[in-house]
């Protein structure tokens, strides 16, 4: 793993350098703007969560960054290299893992990695070392001589991540890396990404499952219907929503009365219900939450729980998006 770790020091000393930059990027599919005037900067060593519902434009943006597509308008660069004019320099810097990908089923695991290592121009000795390192990192060493077709979905996902890391890229573009995986495999992938973060890689990871990103992202971008609605450090975005306390209210029986009661209060901006748990966005003074509790009890709502929480990614996402696509 040594060659994968060597950049940590460098990245720590140069945290503020912009690694990924999008300037007024628009991508049309015929006349439909899949990505619409997106501008974004991601610094070195940052782990950027790209959040948005299906069809929001995440994959199109990542594909453009991976030099697989050209923008209709605007400019994208990675490490200062323009994706349109200097695609090979960009490809040398990035590791790209698509949201849906195939593998060469007839190959053995090490042959699959060897094939891609040769495509990344690694010499025979370096190739051998890299393959061994990425297999160890992704916990696939035991499967080195197994046929790719015999691997489970989660293992194939890890194999693709191993392939992505072969040439020790500075920037990782991971498009829905945990999609379609069972909870166990999901946790494994999450741990792997966390390990990559520790190695100082700049990571852009997309997902429509917010809890997946909440744990390890340093900053996020929320995209919907091709438009970037918000981007920045999670705490910055959260602080922008200051004053909005989220209440988690658990009711006994039908939550309809509770929802009706909450709708009557002007200081409750939004309330969503998931079974018996209601999440309500409270815009009033945080010290006056007790008044709302009293009101609910007065209205005859039978409460099992009433908790004041900080806004999490889900709350931020709900607040910012209009839900037009999902």
């Amino acid at each position: 793993m040594a060659h994968l770790r060597k950049k940590v020091e460098m990245s720590n000393s140069d945290q503020t350098t912009s690694m990924i930059k999008l300037e007024n990027v628009t991508k049309y599919y015929k006349s439909f703007p899949a990505v619409n005037d997106v501008s974004l900067e991601i610094n070195r060593g940052e782990v950027f969560g790209f959040i948005g519902p299906n069809g929001a434009g995440k994959t199109t943006t990542i594909k453009m960054l991976a030099t697989l597509m050209l923008p209709s308008e605007g400019r994208l660069s990675i490490g200062g290299y323009d994706i349109e004019r200097e695609p090979y320099e960009v490809r040398r810097m990035i590791g790209y893992m698509p949201d849906s990908f195939g593998v060469y089923e007839d190959l053995l695991v090490w042959e699959y990695l060897d094939y891609f290592a040769s495509l990344y121009k690694l010499g025979p000795a370096q190739r051998k070392r890299s393959i061994s390192d990425v297999l160890e990192l992704t916990d696939l060493t035991i499967k080195r001589d197994a046929q790719v077709m015999s691997l489970s979905r989660g293992m194939k996902q890890r194999l693709c991540l191993a392939k992505t890391l072969l040439h020790d890229p500075e920037v990782l573009l991971l498009d829905e890396p945990a999609s379609g995986l069972d909870p166990h495999a999901r946790i494994e992938i999450r741990e792997l990404i966390r390990e990559l973060c520790r190695m100082g890689k700049t990571v852009l990871v997309s997902s429509h499952i917010l809890t997946e990103l909440a744990d390890f992202c340093t900053s996020i971008g929320i995209i919907e219907a091709g438009r970037l609605l918000a981007a920045g450090r999670i705490d910055d975005i959260t602080s922008k929503l200051a004053g909005n306390v989220v209440l988690e209210i658990t009711v006994k029986g039908d939550p309809a009365l509770a929802l009706e009661s909450l709708a009557e209060r002007v200081e409750v901006k939004r309330a969503t219900c998931d079974g018996r748990i209601i999440r309500a966005e409270y815009t009033g003074h945080s010290d006056d939450v007790d008044e709302l509790l009293e009101y609910l009890i007065h209205r005859g709502v039978r409460l099992l729980g009433f908790i004041r929480t900080e806004a999490d990614l889900e709350d931020i996402f709900l607040k910012i998006t209009r839900g037009a696509v999902a």
């Binding site: 594909k63 990908f101 195939g102 891609f116 495509l119 121009k121």
Partner: protein, 265 residues
């Protein structure tokens, strides 16, 4: 190539191919031995070698599109194309790698038939140099069909459609030219006073593009008609040149297509 050669399939295909050729040659030899006069038996190679070569050429026409036409289409279908393009592989690397892989198996089948050719050669009536030229014609035809099929593979998204179109293109190349030549010859027989020399030249020019005609010009060999253009330029050489030109064009357009991959993905 590595995956193609793995397992029993490659071994079985190659064995089946050689067995089929052996069966055809064996049957023809038995019929020939029982019916041909003794004077001809001393030159049995003159009959058996062309049969062997024609069957091989026919198989090349069928195999080359099968191997090459799905090179890019299948990468797109099995969702591995993105990974390939996002790597440091240059379009030329992808092109020559894919065409080379398709061709390598074709070359292997050509090598597989060498022991049979050695047998028919030993029966007499065939020049070793002509056999070498015939193999050159077949090899170049294989390269051309692989290149042409690869071009279709970059143009057509679905592998099955790309294979079908490639096969059709190869059949057109092989059959359309002699068919046109035959048609014009039949037409000319209705002319009063017979066909004009330039008409015959055009007909012969069409035949110069055909690998089967090129092989026939070598084994058993035929003399070109009187008064044709470039009478001393061998038919096989003109056919090889024509196919090399086709190969160059196919590879050039495939390369251009791969260079602009970001515009059509």
């Amino acid at each position: 190539m590595r995956t193609r050669m793995r397992g029993k399939r490659a071994f079985l295909v190659l064995t089946g191919y050689v067995a089929l050729l052996s069966l055809i040659i064996g049957l023809i030899y038995i019929i020939f031995k029982n019916n041909a006069p003794t004077s001809l038996l001393n030159n049995a190679g003159k009959v058996l070698t062309p049969v062997l070569v024609y069957v091989q050429m026919g198989l090349i026409c069928l195999m080359a599109p099968t191997f090459s036409a799905s090179a890019i289409s299948s990468e797109r279908e099995q969702e591995t194309f993105d990974l390939l393009i996002a790597s440091l592989a240059k379009p030329s690397t992808i092109l020559f790698g894919k065409v080379g892989a398709a061709l390598s198996y074709l070359v292997l089948t050509l090598f597989g038939s060498l022991p049979l050719i050695a047998l028919t050669y030993s029966l007499g009536g065939v020049d070793l140099l002509d056999i070498a030229r015939v193999y050159l014609v077949m090899f170049v035809a294989g390269v051309t069909y692989c290149s042409l099929s690869f071009l279709w593979s970059t143009l057509i998204r679905r592998g099955v459609v790309a294979q079908f179109v490639s096969l059709f293109a190869v059949i057109f190349l092989v059959a359309a030219m002699p068919a046109l030549a035959l048609f014009f010859t039949a037409l000319a027989s209705n002319f009063s006073g017979g066909p004009s020399p330039s008409f015959m030249n055009i007909v012969f020019l069409l035949l110069r593009t055909n690998p089967f005609a090129a092989i026939a010009s070598l084994i058993p060999g035929f003399a070109p008609p009187q008064g044709i253009w470039l009478p001393n330029f061998p038919v096989w050489a003109s056919q090889v040149l024509f196919y090399l030109l086709l190969t160059a064009l196919s590879l050039y357009f495939s390369l251009k297509r791969l260079e602009k991959v970001r515009k059509w993905m």
